[in-house]
């Protein structure tokens, strides 16, 4: 029992760390394209790690209803496919409209 609680805590801590790093990246980076780099990658993995930790918690503490984690597994797959697609769509729209990328030595935008 202690082992399961420890694993769930590990997954939750890892997921929270990546989510916070994604938000800090949103504030620190100097340009729109680089901010999408930070959130598109870190946010996806952070949320997925939190959800995987909660699936493990459910399978060991509430083993009477084994069909509920199927919803969470589907949510994990959906986030892995949908978040990069939304990031790519936003970046393509910005490129077509004409937002200029940032080079080393420019000022913050």
């Amino acid at each position: 029992m202690v082992l399961v609680n420890g694993m769930v805590t590990l997954f939750l801590a890892g997921g929270l760390f990546f989510t916070l790093v994604g938000s800090i990246g949103l504030l620190r980076f100097p340009d729109f394209y680089t901010r999408l780099h930070a959130t598109g990658k870190c946010d996806t993995l952070g949320t997925s790690l939190i959800l995987i930790g909660l699936i493990i918690h459910h399978l060991f503490h509430y083993s009477g209803t084994p069909l509920v984690p199927v919803r969470l597994i589907f949510l994990v797959f959906f986030i892995f496919i949908a978040n990069p697609a939304a990031t790519h769509a936003l970046m393509k729209a910005a490129y077509e409209v004409g937002v200029k990328p940032w080079k080393l030595g420019d000022e913050r935008r």
Binding site: V21, Y33, G40, K41, M91
Partner: protein, 185 residues
């Protein structure tokens, strides 16, 4: 709204599409509801049937060859992909939390011999989930990819090494000969 005409498919491919769509929708109904009495199963059959009639030609565009082989190779490709995702996030975390923030963005273009819809989408998703690169646009005519890279090393890993393109081409049974593409600033 641009509505293209329905794709011309013969009866065999249409039946295959209808069966696969109905099967997947009914499987989701059973898994997500968890109730197995007669009323809910019949309600599931009716709802899945109505949705299948309206949209069966959106999901399966005809039967392409080597379907089982491609699915098996796709399952083989996923663990390597997951390892790349973890590496990517550690890389981004390093760049965000470093006090000097070592980034140096640049734009790249290259060509691939992949032509089908599903393979282009798989490669674009993989490029977005690997360290340091995001796809900007894809052209299905010649398979051109335009990619925004955050520093020099991930851009080199994509242009010079070309490991990821080789692996995706191997999943979809496409011959890949390494080509040398110039970077576009």
């Amino acid at each position: 709204m641009e509505i293209r005409g329905r794709a011309k498919m013969n009866r065999g491919e249409k039946t295959f599409g209808i069966l696969i769509t109905f099967g997947i929708l009914f499987l989701f109904w059973i898994l997500l509801s968890g109730l197995f009495d007669v009323f809910h199963l019949i309600a599931g059959v009716i709802c899945s049937g109505i949705v299948t009639l309206m949209s069966h030609d959106l999901m399966v565009k005809g039967k392409d060859e080597k379907f089982i082989g491609k699915s098996l190779r796709l399952f083989w490709y996923i663990p390597w992909e997951l390892w790349q995702i973890v590496l990517a996030n550690i890389d981004v975390a390093y760049r965000v939390l470093h006090p000097k923030m070592p980034i140096d963005p640049l734009l790249i273009e290259f060509e691939t011999p992949l032509r089908s819809d599903f393979s282009l989408v798989t490669l674009a998703n993989s490029i977005t989930l690997t360290p340091g690169t995001i796809t900007i646009s894809v052209e299905p005519e010649k398979g051109t990819f335009r990619v925004h890279a955050i520093a020099k090393e991930p851009a080199d890993a994509l242009l010079v090494d070309q490991t990821m393109q080789r692996k995706v081409a191997e999943v979809f049974f496409v011959e890949w000969s390494g080509t040398d593409q110039p970077t576009k600033p």
